[in-house]
């Protein structure tokens, strides 16, 4: 474009607030009850293959992927299934399996994979229910195909507060490198690029040391800017190429460091995803921590473990503050939940009308005109949003609303537009 930055246009610099960047990953003690939902990924909910009253072992599959665009669900503990009920997650129907932990830790043993072929590895990844752990929860096995040339390892973690990926890179460096090696040799990829933002100095140092002997893996330091962790933005920053939908178009695959770690563990130990690193942070938390939490742990237990300052039932946010969503205490951790935040008393300035200052236009990493969406949403012209202003290109990063001096609810307009525009088309 006319005003090029070094990697991509737009972007914001949210206040850092890296409260937990030096906190070591702690293992959270087991709890008595786990609530696992069948929709922890983008796509179709998994089918429940257990019944109430069944005994399950740790790592046992309790939800089977339904079709290709789905992921399997595994039990995080050994115990008894005490309830299966219907719940709504992101406006979609899914089922919640409640497991009572018997603390016996009986493990469901799996066969280890001996010699990998791309096909076999892909099947294994699908079987273990591995999804993108960066937050998007896109089923990983769909990404892994033949004819991949470049592996992009996403260690950017641009959302403020979150440090899950950062800590994984610091503490599980060798496992990640091993994972990268497995993937690259299996899929016969030419090069691997690790992208890390400059503010994670320790992670950069450790990773640099670890990749010294591998000439085909390269580490790229990136300036700290949000939303660089987005797939499209990261590929633009590292490869200077713009993708329309999926990185497949240019023979690349983007994997989060957490996902690579999960693949490595799956391949070497045969363990599915039943655990993940979660940053529990925010001004409302007494002891901010990076925790290794079993998936399905109720939020309430997590918050009790770290301690919260006041009654914050309505201030709990899952994932990062920029793209996350509010979650009640009754909710449970899921595969994509890389952070649980309790933000302090954040005073939002009063909402004013748009003054057309163009800041949202300047920061939009996709080159869109967010203020037009607000205008059209007020008029109810949802279809025009897509027709004239290519709404579908929006990655919903929230930069526009973050920067807006008038606190215009731009994301609301965008979500409304996506929803209603689709409805009207039908």
């Amino acid at each position: 474009m006319f005003f090029k930055t070094t990697f991509f246009r737009g972007g914001i610099h949210p206040r850092e607030k890296e409260i937990t960047s030096d906190k070591k990953i702690e293992k959270m003690p087991d709890v008595g009850i786990y609530r696992v939902t069948t929709l922890q990924h983008i796509g179709v909910p998994a089918i429940v293959i257990v019944k109430v009253g069944d005994r399950v072992k740790k790592y046992q599959k309790i939800g089977k992927a339904k079709g290709k665009f789905s992921a399997s669900i595994h039990s995080p503990c050994s115990g008894k299934i005490i309830q299966i009920k219907k719940v709504h997650i992101k406006c979609r129907e899914a089922e919640e399996i409640t497991i009572e932990n018997d603390f016996l830790e009986e493990e469901f043993k799996k066969e280890k994979l001996q010699n990998f072929t791309p096909k076999k590895l892909q099947e294994l990844v699908a079987d273990l229910g591995i999804v993108g752990l960066g937050g998007a929860t896109f089923p990983t096995h769909i990404k892994l195909e033949d004819k991949l040339k470049t592996l992009i390892i996403n260690g950017v973690e641009c959302e403020p507060y979150l440090n899950a990926d950062n800590r994984v890179m610091v503490e599980n460096t060798n496992e990640i490198i091993e994972g990268i090696k497995i993937l690259m040799t299996t899929f016969d990829m030419e090069k691997g690029i690790i992208g890390i933002e400059e503010n994670k100095a320790e992670a950069i140092k450790k990773m640099e040391e670890a990749i010294k002997e591998y000439s085909e893996i390269r580490l790229q330091k990136l300036p700290t800017i949000y939303p660089q962790g987005g797939e499209k933005q990261l590929i633009k920053a590292l490869l200077k190429k713009e993708i329309k939908f999926l990185p497949k178009e240019i023979g690349a695959v983007t994997l989060n460091v957490g996902t690579i770690l999960a693949i490595y563990r799956g391949v070497t130990y045969g363990t599915p995803i039943v655990e993940r690193i979660v940053t529990v942070s925010g001004e409302g938390v007494e002891k901010p921590k990076n925790l290794s939490i079993r998936i399905g742990t109720p939020i309430e237990d997590v918050l009790n473990y770290v301690g919260i300052k006041e009654d914050v039932a309505d201030k709990i946010i899952a994932c990062g503050p920029m793209m996350g969503h509010k979650i009640g205490k009754r909710g449970a951790t899921s595969k994509g939940m890389n952070g649980i935040l309790v933000l302090g008393e954040e005073k939002f300035p009063p909402k004013l009308s748009c003054i057309k200052c163009g800041r949202c236009v300047d920061v939009c990493p996709m080159g869109l005109l967010p203020l037009e969406y607000d205008r059209l949403a007020k008029k109810g012209k949802y279809q025009q949003m897509e027709k004239e202003f290519s709404l579908s290109s929006c990655i919903k990063c929230g930069s526009c609303e973050y920067i807006c001096p008038s606190q215009v609810p731009l994301m609301e307009a965008i979500f409304l537009g996506l929803e209603k525009g689709r409805d009207e088309d039908d």
Partner: protein
């Protein structure tokens, strides 16, 4: 409703932006009070207080009690863009109009025109006598230094002060101009502060002033002064950077500024306006919706819609050509330059006989006879007005080369300033004067419009001199071809030239009053 992400927000707020603009305006306020004292304070208080209460009034009507401070800032900018001669109540009316204009469009963010500039436009229409005071050559007041350069001659101004002193005054602000726009250094301080705070786009003054400079360099010997002496500098930092009335993409913004530069240049050069800032800004404001529509950013992974740029450029070219045509269009048929028999009857009575007319130097002379005797000459001519349009008049000269009567038949001078030449009171002053009459500013000039009357005087003087030459040896010798020989004519010309040298300041373009 549950708020959706993002759950954190930047510490930008509209109030903060307005506060920053207010702080950036402080140096200008200080300079204006330093140079104009109580007058500046009166104007600023007038606009700011009126803006503030108008804002509250409208907010009560609209049931919207969020104070963003934009009203006070608009009032402050309006106050700073007024000349020091403006009375406080006029300034206050401006403030009321400015803020009302914003709310009539629907409030902050929905107004098409910059409120301050729209308020100023209204004041220019309602109170031209205060807003157009440009020709107090003693340098005490005036709306802008630019018109003096446009009409008064740069050499005279620099000659009075000396070049170093002239530029020092220019930078410090000790010069003609609206109270806030005169000091380059104060505006620069504001600019640096706003750019540091990222409140404005840093390129805005560069693009706007650059455009004005480039365009002026085609017509002006000193384009730098044309760029710097008007309100352009103040506008480029505080007015065109108004977020509401400017495009939101960077490309669109650049385009907007270039367009505004063209408008300002066009209005300044082609119309009677002393400087075109007001009209130029409003004209460009009007184009903003179109610019926004055709200058989107390139969407990620999509090619740039160049066709939109082509459309935009064609539309703006049409607008510029149309505007140029509208401004320069002259309907020649409206005022036929013929004998006005009513006036003729007034001067010489009825039953006059015509000799052949003599056309000399663009003036038409009709020697008249009554009952076989010479009674004088009826002259039709025109003179250069304050702007581009000329002043048409007829003149009766008696046999002793004195003015017998004069009527302005057509003029387009500024209302309540230059157009006072139309008053019979003023016209009757000329009766009995001959070519030796010296111009008296107190008697013949108008406050705020000396230029018009001075220029007319020059034209009359020229007519009288030619008349003296033509009818030197009496009326009986006239053979209809003009009695003057070549040598005689050149002598007269030299005399006129000498006359010009005496009164250098009057010489605007070296043409004097002759029509082209």
């Amino acid at each position: 409703m549950i708020k959706i992400a993002p759950y954190i927000s930047s510490n930008n707020t509209t109030q903060k932006l307005m506060k920053e603009v207010g702080i950036a305006l402080l140096p200008c306020v200080v300079v204006s009070i330093y140079f104009y004292g109580i007058a500046a304070i009166e104007i600023l208080l007038g606009t700011v207080i009126c803006s503030f209460f108008t804002e509250i009034f409208w907010q009560n009507i609209k049931k919207d009690k969020t104070h963003d401070g934009s009203g006070v800032i608009a009032g402050l900018i309006l106050g700073l863009s007024l000349p020091s001669t403006t009375p406080f109540y006029v300034a206050g009316i401006g403030g009321v109009i400015a803020i009302s204009s914003k709310y009539i469009f629907g409030g902050l963010g929905k107004n098409i025109f910059n409120p301050a500039i729209l308020g100023r436009l209204f004041l220019m229409i309602l109170f031209p006598m205060y807003l157009y005071q440009v020709n107090n050559f003693d340098g005490t007041a005036g709306v802008s230094l630019y018109p003096m350069i446009k009409y008064g001659g740069l050499t005279k101004i620099i000659g009075d002060l000396g070049e170093p002193l002239f530029y020092r005054d220019l930078i410090l602000g000790n010069r003609l101009g609206s109270i806030g726009e005169s000091s380059i250094i104060a505006i620069f301080l504001g600019y640096v502060y706003l750019v540091y705070k990222k409140s404005i786009k840093w390129e805005s003054p560069l693009i706007l002033l650059g455009t004005i400079y480039v365009l002026n360099s085609f017509v002006s010997p000193n384009p730098f002064l044309n760029m710097i002496t008007g309100g352009g500098l103040f506008a480029s930092v505080f007015i065109v950077t108004d977020p509401v009335t400017s495009p939101y993409t960077r490309l669109g913004y650049g385009f907007y500024l270039v367009l505004m530069g063209i408008f300002i240049f066009g209005v300044t050069e082609l119309t009677t306006q002393p400087t075109g800032i007001t009209m130029g800004v409003l004209g460009a404001n009007l184009m903003v919706p179109i610019i926004n529509r055709y200058t989107p950013n390139r969407v990620f992974a999509k090619s740039y819609p160049y066709i939109k740029l082509v459309k935009l450029i064609s539309i703006t070219t049409l607008v510029i050509i149309g505007g140029f045509y509208a401004i320069t269009y002259k309907n020649e048929n409206i005022t036929p330059k013929g004998i006005n028999y009513i006036n003729l009857k007034k001067y010489f009575g009825s039953d006059v006989e015509f000799d052949d007319k003599i056309t000399e130097d663009g003036f038409v002379y009709y020697p008249l006879k009554k009952d076989g005797l010479d009674i004088g000459t009826y002259v039709i001519g025109d003179s250069k007005g304050y702007g581009k349009k000329s002043i048409d008049f007829d003149l009766a000269i008696d046999t002793e080369h004195k003015i017998k009567g004069m009527t302005i038949t057509n003029e387009n001078e500024t209302w309540r300033l230059g157009d006072q030449i139309s008053s019979s009171c003023w016209q009757n002053q000329w009766i009995g004067r001959d070519s030796s009459y010296k111009f008296n500013k107190e008697v013949d000039g108008f406050l705020g419009a000396t230029y018009t009357s001075k220029n007319l005087h020059k034209t009359f003087k020229k007519i009288l001199k030619i008349h003296e030459r033509l009818f030197e040896s009496g009326y009986s010798n006239i053979d209809g071809t003009g009695g003057a020989t070549y040598t005689e004519k050149s002598v007269i010309d030299e005399e006129i030239k000498k006359d010009k040298n005496i009164d250098e300041t009057l010489d605007i373009d070296g043409v004097g009053g002759a029509s082209d």
